[in-house]
């Protein structure tokens, strides 16, 4: 088993995608199926952007097992008031500046769900959000 830990700073768009890039490299070295790598990278990239754009900062813990990759993304708030709404395609609370960069289309969380095998999102206002997802490697 391999474990990686990363920190994400709030507002740091310049480095958004760097964690996904590291994980992509690791999965390639392990000869994981290309379609699994693609799905994992999409989900992780969107997660990175979410923490940068919407939270006070957070961390990512990646665990790679023989048969799957488990990723936990935890941020330190402010939290998602209505998860069902946040999961709706097209709904976004992103600022105008963030939208101008081409983010905030309300596609992030739906993209994450569509590209993961197990998906679990919990949030508590004033505490933070925890997103856990798992992708299984095909034999």
């Amino acid at each position: 088993m391999m474990e990686f830990n990363f920190k994400i700073e709030s507002g740091d768009f310049t480095n958004a995608g760097s964690i996904s890039s590291s994980v992509k490299r690791a999965l390639k070295q392990l000869n994981v199926d290309g379609s699994v790598i693609k799905r994992t990278v999409v989900a992780l990239y969107e997660s990175e952007v979410n923490v940068v754009a919407h939270s006070h900062g957070g961390e990512v813990v990646v665990n790679i097992f023989d048969d799957c990759i488990k990723i936990n993304i935890t941020d330190s708030g402010p939290g998602i008031p209505d998860i069902e709404k946040a999961m709706t395609q097209g709904f976004s609370t992103a600022s105008p500046e963030v939208r101008e960069m081409g983010f905030g289309a309300g596609m992030g969380l739906p993209n994450i769900k569509n590209n993961t095998d197990d998906f679990d999102l919990k949030s508590e206002m004033g505490v933070g959000t925890v997103l856990k997802f798992v992708n299984y490697f095909k034999a």
């Binding site: 999409v42 960069m101 289309a105 596609m107």
Partner: protein, 111 residues
């Protein structure tokens, strides 16, 4: 199917960075300015046509194995996007054309 070098030459695109990727193969394309849309829908070996000029463009392009990025309307790519293009060996091209026009021209070449 075409190589990046061919579309650069035939469509008179300005090669700003990422020269090492000129032999990348282009089999299809995607035109969008929404990064999540591109993240979710672009296919590998695509040419990506966009008006976005910041560094995150290369993050998405690299993660999705994009063959080249074309910036439209003559917009100037930001410095850190240029740097990243060289680091990833993904050609960064600029055209004076609109997204509609250049997409149509590329389509004609690769269909």
């Amino acid at each position: 199917m075409a190589k990046v070098a061919e579309i650069v030459e035939k469509l008179n695109l300005k090669l700003v960075a990422g020269n090492e990727g000129l032999q990348n193969v282009i089999t299809t394309g995607y035109t969008s300015d929404l990064l999540s849309d591109v993240m979710g829908n672009i296919k590998s070996q695509s040419v990506w046509v966009t008006m976005q000029t910041h560094k995150n463009v290369m993050a998405v392009a690299s993660l999705k194995d994009v063959s080249a990025v074309v910036i439209v309307n003559g917009y100037a790519p930001e410095d850190d996007l240029i740097e990243q293009s060289n680091a990833e060996d993904i050609p960064l091209l600029v055209t004076e054309d609109t997204a509609f026009d250049i997409s149509a021209k590329i389509y004609e070449l690769i269909k």
